[in-house]
């Protein structure tokens, strides 16, 4: 026992030293947490997200699992993570520096491309965090359940609460926060809600999406269009940065969880029940034989597609 806490202290110490030199601030004395265990089947854990760090690809999910691939999704190496909770989202500002969030108000940071993570913060009241985005090495955002929204100006060292929705909208789940290339922030939220901020999160404007089902994620397309995805197989596309939306509804009715854009501007969307949609305004639907709930999709540096979900992470060999 003595030995373990000593080792823990050393780790924290080393982590802080490393962090100091690489200028990612962390908690001086990390809160007690059970680290993720090294697992043979780490790449088969239920996954929630996929993120690129330069040419490397990372997937994250349950039991504090982060796996990293440097061969475009063919093989995976488990990262060292100090927590055991479900991780939900990660974002990198370059090939080395990134952040990840998860349940229990967990905020993690890495400075080595995601191989080693340190516990940077446990946010107040341990909210369920669902999305993280960093605009720079200093400025970042984290959002989550029941309207929980946070902002940092010091690379994650300290966070302050931010108000997004008001009135009835105030305690809605904020499912994903993303930015367009011009720095506008968008949030996809519960019950068809979406928000936009043009001043770095100080003021948020509610957008009229015209749908009632929860929106789970979004992205900016190559042509500057904003895309939101959500329940009932809906793909919402706005050519005017969120003022008006064009709604496509897939017949399967499955919830859509993530999308990635091909070079030709077409989308590849994944969702629950093994649903995979491909297209631009019109989509062709494919239902995977395993029917697993897919949670995320990413394109690798070599142009292949990797999906992640209930059954882990998988490189699609036959895909475009």
């Amino acid at each position: 026992m003595m030995k373990r806490s000593l080792a823990g202290a050393c780790c924290t110490l080393i982590a802080s030293c490393m962090a100091a030199t690489l200028s990612v601030p962390v908690l001086a004395a990390g809160p007690a947490a059970v680290p993720a265990m090294k697992a043979r089947l780490a790449a088969k854990v239920p996954m929630t997200g996929l993120v690129r760090a330069g040419d490397a690809l990372l997937a994250l999910g349950d039991y504090g699992t982060v796996v990293r691939s440097i061969d475009h999704g063919r093989s995976w190496q488990q990262a060292v993570v100090p927590v055991n909770t479900l991780l939900t989202s990660a974002h990198f500002i370059d090939s080395q520096r990134g952040w990840a969030v998860g349940h229990g108000g967990t905020v993690l940071a890495t400075t080595d491309g995601g191989l080693n993570w340190v516990l940077q913060q446990i946010l107040e009241d341990k909210p369920v965090l669902l999305s993280v985005y960093f605009a720079s090495a200093d400025v970042g955002y984290a959002v989550g359940a029941y309207g929980s929204a946070w902002r940092t100006g010091d690379g994650g060292r300290s966070w302050s609460a931010m108000t997004v929705g008001e009135g009835d909208d105030a305690d809605m789940h904020l499912n994903q926060l993303f930015a367009t290339r011009d720095g506008t922030l968008f949030i996809a939220a519960e019950m068809g809600l979406a928000f936009r901020s043009e001043d770095g999160g100080t003021r948020w404007q509610r957008l009229e999406t015209g749908v009632s089902g929860s929106l789970w994620s979004g992205l900016e397309g190559a042509g500057g269009e904003v895309v939101l995805l959500g329940m009932s197989g809906r793909v919402l596309v706005s050519q005017d940065r969120g003022d008006s939306w064009q709604v496509h509804e897939d017949a399967s009715g499955q919830s859509l969880t993530g999308a990635v854009q091909a070079a030709d501007g077409s989308l590849l969307v994944v969702g629950a029940g093994g649903l995979v949609l491909r297209g631009r305004e019109r989509f062709t639907a494919e239902i995977r034989a395993d029917r697993q709930n897919l949670a995320a999709v990413q394109r690798t540096a070599d142009g292949a597609v990797v999906v992640a979900g209930q059954l882990g992470v998988e490189r699609l060999t036959t895909d475009r």
Partner: protein
Amino acid sequence: MIEKSVLALQRFCFRFRLPILLALLAFTALMAVFAARLHMSAGFDKQLPQDHEYIQTFNQYRDVLFGANRIIVTVEASKGDIWNEKALTRLYDVTQALFFMKGVDRRTVTSLWTPNTRAVQITEEGMKAEDVIGGDVTVKALTPDNIAAIRERTIVGGFIGSLVANDSSSAMVVAELADPDPQTGERLDYFEFSQRLEKELRAAFSDEDIRIRIIGFAKQMGDISEGATSVIEFFALAFLLTTAAVYWYTRSWVLTFLPLACSLVSVVWQFGTITLLGFGLDPLAILVPFLVFAIGVSHGIQQVNYIAKEVINGADGYTAASRSFTGLLVPGTLALITAFVGFATLVLVPIPMIRELAITASVGVAYKIVTNLIMLPVLASYFRFDDAFVLRASKVEHLRNRMMAALGVHIASPRNAAIGTLVCIVLMAVAVWQSQGRHVGHVLPGAPELHDDSRYNRDVEAVVEHYSLGLDLLTVVVETPADGCYRQDVMSHVDRLTWYLANVPGVLSAQSLPTLTKLAASGVNEGNPKWAALPQDELTLGEAVRQVPEGLRLFNADCTLLPVNLYLSDHKASTIEGVVAAVKEFRSKEPFDGVTIRLASGNAGVQAATNEIVEHSELPMMLYVYATILVLVFLVYRDWRAMLACCVPLTLATFLGYWFMKELDIGLTVATLPVMVLAVGIGVDYAFYIYNRLQMHMAHGEDIVTAFKQALREIGVATVFTAVTLSIGVATWSFSALKFQADMGMLLTFMFMMNMIMAITLLPALAVTIDMLIPRRGPVRAPLMAH
């Protein structure tokens, strides 16, 4: 001293031969009354080491954990799939039939047709659950359209791989048994239930298009009991074969009758004693009466051999019988004591069935001293032998003597003996090497008690192949403080344990309350995968926990029990050991206050316990038996050469037996552990007989080569014949419907024959070589047990 008491006993017995025989007859009649009350008992529990940590866990929770009382019936389409009117109708009929069967807990009957089979779809409005086959669809109203809809809902509901085969070739009805009956409190009779399953389900619903498969613990037990009823036929067959063999040997019906009758008498006594001790006869221990019978016959052969030789030399029946009595009482008793000790050491194995077997076998062998060494010669004294028999017997005797003399010349010549010894050393090395990595426990899939091509195991194979179900279940029992399932820290710990174990090689899947609660948590949050975590607060956690069906048995009423169910790729000992080690490692590495992680239930857990006991018992058992033999040999011969010459061939035979087990995929189990111990205890008899004669002739001043030739001539045929008789008794078991009986039969036959061959070839070769290498200094002592 000994000689005097033997003579006194002989005089006493032959003087009061009539009262003694009448008393024995009366005792036999009394025991026969008890023997008639002997019943068969399947005795699953008796196979388990009751004091073992895992078995205590198993016993404590067997009624609340998953799987023990589950019965699975599949309706399989011979061609194509089940998505047609006929197959779905048949599935409905089977569901109904199972529902109304006595002994089935109706609430638990589940198939596509039951209302508890619902497809949950998550929409914006919330979770929408609909019956896979709605109330509006009846068997008569099945159309291609609504069959297609049923199929889609089956897929959406996630029932492919659970209620419907992965390739849709069959569909399943699952039910739990009400055992004990909640109204009457009676335990379910598995044998009778299994027969009803055959009649009311398999026979009633099978035809050329539809095949019915039935698996589950109750069916397995039923089939084992059914297999065990073939006992009578085997006994009859063994008896006939033995009779024929004994007649061939003695050429006299009287001399055939004597050993068989006396051996049967001791079996009657043994059965009576078993009943009096309150034991039943279970499929595993049933081998023992056979063995005891066979041992009786083989010792009886020694008696009739002796008597015949005396008669041929001119004695009358009475004199021949009394000489046989005196001549064989001491050696016979010693040989039986060796067997007795061999059996009795098995009492030390903490598995009730082996203990029972040890007791009944020791009792049986002890009775042999009375029936074969006293009763047989006393009874024989009433018979007369005519000249025709003498003529017939002496002719046969002459022929056999010539054969054995020829064999003796070849084996005992110093050159051949040296070669024999060399072969022995090489063979020993090969056998030791080849027997490495012998299996412990059961190796092949399915019910280990039954053959792999038995109907039950073929059904198991088909279900395993077509469904995403593991049938090798190891349950880790986690005891928590009250309401443990509403505590995030406790649940999180169990979740971590589950994930830790899911990563152990050989674990196909791991299921526990937290893993399903996380899915439920995602479900109540619109199915969003980012919500698949254990909620922090008690209320939300409770809400998610309540979504998990009770029928999965992943928690008990007061939430103090959170089992982790591990489905393994197989039930090989190495696989189970890996999992057990992982559980122990987690337990010591990550202790959690108030949470106790206990091993282990499920069929694999139970097997883990048995494997541990069997594996740890084998070596001590063998050492005890060998120590006994060494002590006895030393007492009788006072000669280290004898100890070496008797035990080296025995050891070689044992290792050959291990090699045989490995080659035939016979694992070390509750059934085969006693076999190896018994085989050594009985196998040494041959060495006794041969070495005894050898020593006697050498004591008379003959050189070892001549001594051996004489020994072989005198008792070579008897020894070979004894082994053959013993083998016949057990070899019939190779055809048993129960795999472990077949394994026991094959192994025992192999061991008897091997020990016999070793005794007439290797033992003399070794004795000769030892005498060549290290010449004796003093004269050879006469053996204590003079034939």
